[in-house]
């Protein structure tokens, strides 16, 4: 079951944004997110907006690119030429690679035609290891994709089985090698830790597999997320019924420390709480745009957008999305952020980055909290002395608490 959308005010039927939001679009970069709401099967832990049916009323996979291109036209009308060329594009899902490479290419071309792409634009697609082949990867690369993010999750069979993942344990790193072979600039492997039944050794095995791929020059980026048991998922039901143990926070903390230790030893370094990269060029620029107050347009059902302090989100169901798009904006709700809310987001997002948060954005109480966090071993003393709040390793595990304290 897809998670619920936030509460917000209604989006005008033409999707129009307040003038104030359009004064400096892309000052911190401009990106495009494309949501592809299809999967071959649904995983038990997943609460993303995705559908396994090949045809939904008014939408099928083959006509989906037309819908996205139609929303692009709406975006062009709403932004009215205020947007600069696109710096980053990210195809997420769902499973974008369930669509043929030509369809993905058509959407990417549409984006380029509408806004233009920066010469060194980062264009990423997510992919399931089993949904790509050397041929499809080459086709994507030819179409202009520069980066691929593979949903590996684990290298251990019983963990993959519990997560309902369909690929075999070895498939992800093979896919990474194929992507490198096809000429992708950057390859990410996505991991999940803290799955019920996953042992410390299982996790170490997954990390070792990933690091083998890094050492082989295939992957240059690793994301590691603790499993979040979202309400309404099949996994949550199994835990509620006592069929599976609830993953504990202590275990998650142990796994995180193990990840940090091994990934760092292999030459990767963290740049966000859950993300490690081989070097600065390997960092995901699209995600950094999210975390640094950048603007982006999210295309597709359930996609979120942010432009000039306005966040909005589209209706979730593809059929309803198609219906709404035919007459205007598919926006389901939006919020016009107050100065306070923008400040809160700024602190909560930038504190998670290795580049940290400049202390001068904080009030006196917040700066005093930063000093206390140094004493508690949560913020790096040298960085704080130099005017930035940067989390220590322990601080990364308690980042939400640090953010609450910094905000007072």
């Amino acid at each position: 079951m897809p998670s619920a959308l936030p509460d917000g005010e209604a989006v005008p039927s033409d999707g129009a944004l307040p003038d104030t939001a359009l004064t400096s679009v892309g000052a911190h970069g401009f990106g495009v997110y494309v949501h592809v709401p299809f999967c071959a099967s649904r995983c038990g832990y997943c609460d993303f907006n995705t559908y396994t049916a090949t045809e939904l009323p008014g939408v099928d996979r083959s006509s989906y690119p037309d819908l996205v291109v139609a929303e692009l036209a709406l975006a062009a009308r709403v932004l009215g030429g205020t947007a600069p060329p696109v710096r980053t594009v990210f195809f997420g899902g769902g499973t974008p690679t369930l669509l043929p490479p030509d369809d993905l290419a058509r959407i990417l071309d549409g984006i380029a035609d509408t806004f233009g792409l920066e010469p060194d634009a980062e264009v990423t697609t997510e992919a399931n290891p089993e949904s790509v082949s050397p041929a499809s990867l080459r086709a994507l690369r030819r179409a202009g994709f520069t980066r691929i993010s593979l949903g590996m999750q684990s290298a251990v069979g019983h963990v993959l089985a519990l997560l309902d993942r369909k690929h075999t344990p070895g498939r992800a790193t093979v896919a990474a090698a194929e992507a490198a072979e096809a000429g992708f600039d950057h390859v990410n492997l996505d991991l999940i830790y803290g799955t019920p039944g996953e042992s410390a050794d299982d996790w170490a095995a997954s990390l070792d597999t990933v690091l083998g791929s890094v050492a082989a020059g295939a992957a240059d980026h690793v994301s590691a997320y603790s499993l979040i048991v979202e309400d309404g998922t099949r996994l949550a039901g199994r835990i509620r019924r006592g069929e599976l143990p609830m993953p504990s926070d202590d275990t998650a903390a142990d796994r995180y420390l193990a990840a940090e230790e091994r990934l760092t030893a292999a030459g990767l370094s963290w740049y966000e709480v859950s993300n490690w990269a081989a070097d600065e060029a390997a960092r995901c620029r699209h995600n950094l745009l999210y975390w640094s107050g950048g603007d982006w347009w999210g295309l597709g059902p359930g996609a979120h957008s942010h432009v000039g302090g306005v966040r909005w989100w589209n209706v979730k169901h593809p059929s309803r999305y198609a219906e709404r798009l035919a007459t205007g904006s598919p926006g389901a709700g939006r919020e016009i952020l107050t100065a306070d809310e923008r400040h809160t987001e700024d602190v909560l997002l930038r504190t998670r980055l290795s580049s940290g948060l400049p202390l001068d954005v904080l009030d006196d109480a917040g700066r005093a909290s930063a000093d206390r966090a140094v004493l508690a071993g949560l913020l790096d003393p040298t960085a704080v002395a130099a005017g930035r709040a940067v989390l220590t390793l322990r601080g990364r595990l308690l980042a939400d608490a640090v953010v609450r304290d910094l905000l007072g």
Binding site: S226, I228, A253, V273, E341, E345, L398, A401, R404
Partner: protein
């Protein structure tokens, strides 16, 4: 009604003053309702159930908190007095041990008492205690079995029991049903026949016994009196003999069953006075009222000031409700001479009041009224008794709050004790003895009331009774045992103060004075409970129980190691910000104990007597 029965002009020979002694739910109010109907003072169509119980709480709990006095005209129906008219004053008495002083004053206003017992349940300990009180006051007793219409009624068995208790024959026991009205007219006839008319000197200076005092928002304090000597006229000025204070008399009258003005109250009569005072403390139960210009020399005996036996701290859950709590207590105090309170500050709970009560029921009633009538959400600390602590430097300290226990070298500690009576079916004697012994009880005696019912008498520390004793007693005897107790002085005991420390900081709300042998159990119980209730912090938090500097129990809350949401995509930002805002709101409701954030709910749960649930996982 003949003129000779008018208020102020009634011949004492035509008056009968009586009360009904009964256990909760043995049907006293229903019987009173029938009497109101049969004597014609309330018409059928005006009748509502439990007419005399005015407070919602009284009707809901089926108990009478404040007493009332109703004047009932009655013309005898049968026997040699048939056709003769009388005035019956029914004085309703509070039915609970906490209010035994009020009961004793109500009894002092009567010549006779109806001992009303449920024919399906037999006599209960509180009824027995009040019966003994009535016998001590030389009241004539008419034993009455009620609810004889019930299929489970065993009137023969319980008639035997009552006869055994008060002396007399089982067949002298009347049998009525308050519900159907059966036997009620006969009972009214017997009241006239068996109870003595009031004695007292009609020519002496007036002496009126105050047996109740009620605050009414429109009229001020309404004082209920029984004229023991002389008469009070509507134009008199009155003197309260305990204080010497004088008051203008604004109104006097009788209740029948609504207040009715009268020109005077004569000897033996029962009625009400209104003097315009606004606080029941100016018109105290047990005090003697006389006339300013014809003053009596001596007050009636038996007056004493209400003395709180149990203390508890009451705190608003929302600190900003503190002024409302103060106003509410000020209002309740107008109607409750026994309620005492003073402001108190707790490091853990903020601003509140330390309140003194007559007993646990009194505490519960006040708390419930504060929450219900004044819409307040409250935390109350564990109730405690009053201790007297003598230090080696010869100073003495009266401790009403464990956190104020003196720190010097203690020579001896005294705690209040009670004389408790437990009535139980003999199957449960062992269980009752076990409970009493585990609570430091000393057996005083044991008697069989009937073949299968036993009366056990114990001396027990009051402190042991106020902590879930009654619940234990009920659960171990499948609800059959009943309990009564009365204060019985104090005793020296081996008591210690146990502090609970959170990360090294004592939490005042959890300090308790307990017997040395139970200190460890208390320490373990509370530290275990708190470990489950307090969420993990960024650092390890020891929870310790200590006597002075000696640690007797310890638990640890391990440091929280992870407090971060791993993923934060573009679409998660709004959700994450809202979650953060919610967490910040939650943080505001946390109480800080030193560096430890303790949720309000943890205090509430730890102070409740039931077991705390496990802290739900996040």
């Amino acid at each position: 009604m003949p003129a000779q029965l008018d208020p102020g002009a009634t011949d004492p020979q035509r008056i009968r003053n009586f009360c009904i002694i009964a256990h909760i739910d043995h049907g006293k109010s229903t019987l009173a309702d029938r009497m109101l109907q049969l004597t014609g003072v309330v018409e059928e169509r005006q009748m509502r159930a439990q007419y005399l119980d005015r407070m919602d709480i009284e009707r809901e709990r089926g108990i009478t908190i404040k007493s009332q006095a109703v004047r009932l005209p009655w013309t005898v129906r049968e026997g040699d007095l048939a056709g003769e008219s009388y005035v019956l004053n029914m004085i309703d008495t509070p039915g609970h041990v906490d209010f035994s002083y009020e009961v004793s004053r109500s009894l002092a206003a009567c010549e006779g008492a109806i001992l009303l017992v449920d024919a399906a349940q037999g006599i209960e300990a509180q009824t027995l205690a009040n019966l003994y009180l009535a016998l001590e006051n030389d009241l004539h007793i008419i034993p009455v079995l009620n609810k004889i219409d019930l299929p489970a009624a065993q009137p023969d068995k319980y008639a035997e029991e009552l006869a055994h208790l008060i002396g007399g024959k089982p067949e002298e026991c009347l049998r009525v049903s308050g519900k159907t009205g059966s036997g009620v007219a006969e009972l009214l006839d017997e009241i006239v026949r068996q109870f003595q008319p009031p004695s007292g000197d009609p020519a002496a200076p007036p002496r009126a016994l105050i047996f109740d005092s009620v605050y009414d928002i429109y009229r001020g304090v309404v004082t209920y009196v029984r004229m023991m000597d002389g008469r009070i006229e509507a134009r008199d000025r009155l003197t309260m003999m305990s204080t010497g204070a004088t008051h203008e008399l604004l109104e006097l009258g009788v209740i029948s069953p609504e207040p009715t003005k009268s020109p005077a109250l004569g000897v033996g009569e029962v009625g009400y006075l209104i003097t315009g005072v606004k606080d029941v403390r100016q018109s105290k139960v047990g005090d003697t009222v006389t006339a300013l210009h014809r003053p009596a020399d001596e007050p009636l005996g038996g007056y004493s000031d209400p003395k709180p036996m149990v203390y508890s701290g009451l705190y608003p859950i929302d600190g900003s409700d503190y002024p409302d709590l103060r106003d509410a207590l000020d209002k309740l105090k107008l109607n409750d001479a026994a309620l005492v309170y003073e402001p108190e500050t707790s490091a853990a709970l903020g601003f509140g009041f330390r309140c003194g009560f007559l007993g646990l029921l009194h505490l519960e009633i006040i708390r419930e009224r504060l929450e219900r009538e004044f819409n307040l959400d409250l935390i109350s600390t564990a109730p405690n008794v009053v201790y007297r602590v003598e230090l080696e430097d010869n100073t003495e300290h009266v401790v009403t709050n464990p956190s104020e226990y003196p720190t010097g070298k203690v020579a001896s500690v005294y705690e209040p004790v009670v004389r408790a009576t437990v009535l139980t079916p003999n199957d449960f004697v062992g269980a009752v003895m076990e409970i009493c012994q585990s609570r430091r009880g000393k057996l005083l005696g044991m008697d069989y009331l009937s073949a299968d019912r036993v009366e056990l008498r114990y001396t027990l520390p009051l402190a042991e009774i106020i902590f879930d004793f009654f619940d234990q007693l009920k659960s171990r005897t499948r609800g059959y045992a009943s309990l009564d107790y009365e204060p019985s002085g104090e005793q020296a005991a081996d008591l210690v103060k146990v502090d609970i420390l959170l990360h090294g900081e004592p939490v005042d709300a959890f300090s308790a004075i307990v017997h040395k042998d139970k200190a460890y159990a208390y320490g373990v119980q509370l530290t275990t409970k708190l470990r489950k209730l307090i969420p993990r912090q960024q650092f390890e938090v020891p929870i310790q129980a200590a006597i002075g500097t000696k640690i007797i129990a310890r638990e640890n809350i391990r440091a929280m190691r992870k407090d971060v949401l791993a993923k934060c995509y573009g679409g998660d930002i709004t959700r994450k910000r809202k979650l953060l805002e919610k967490q910040k709101e939650g943080k505001k409701r946390m109480k800080m104990v030193g560096r430890v954030e303790v949720p309000q709910e943890a205090f509430i749960a730890a102070l409740s007597t039931s077991d705390a649930p496990e802290q739900p996982k996040k």
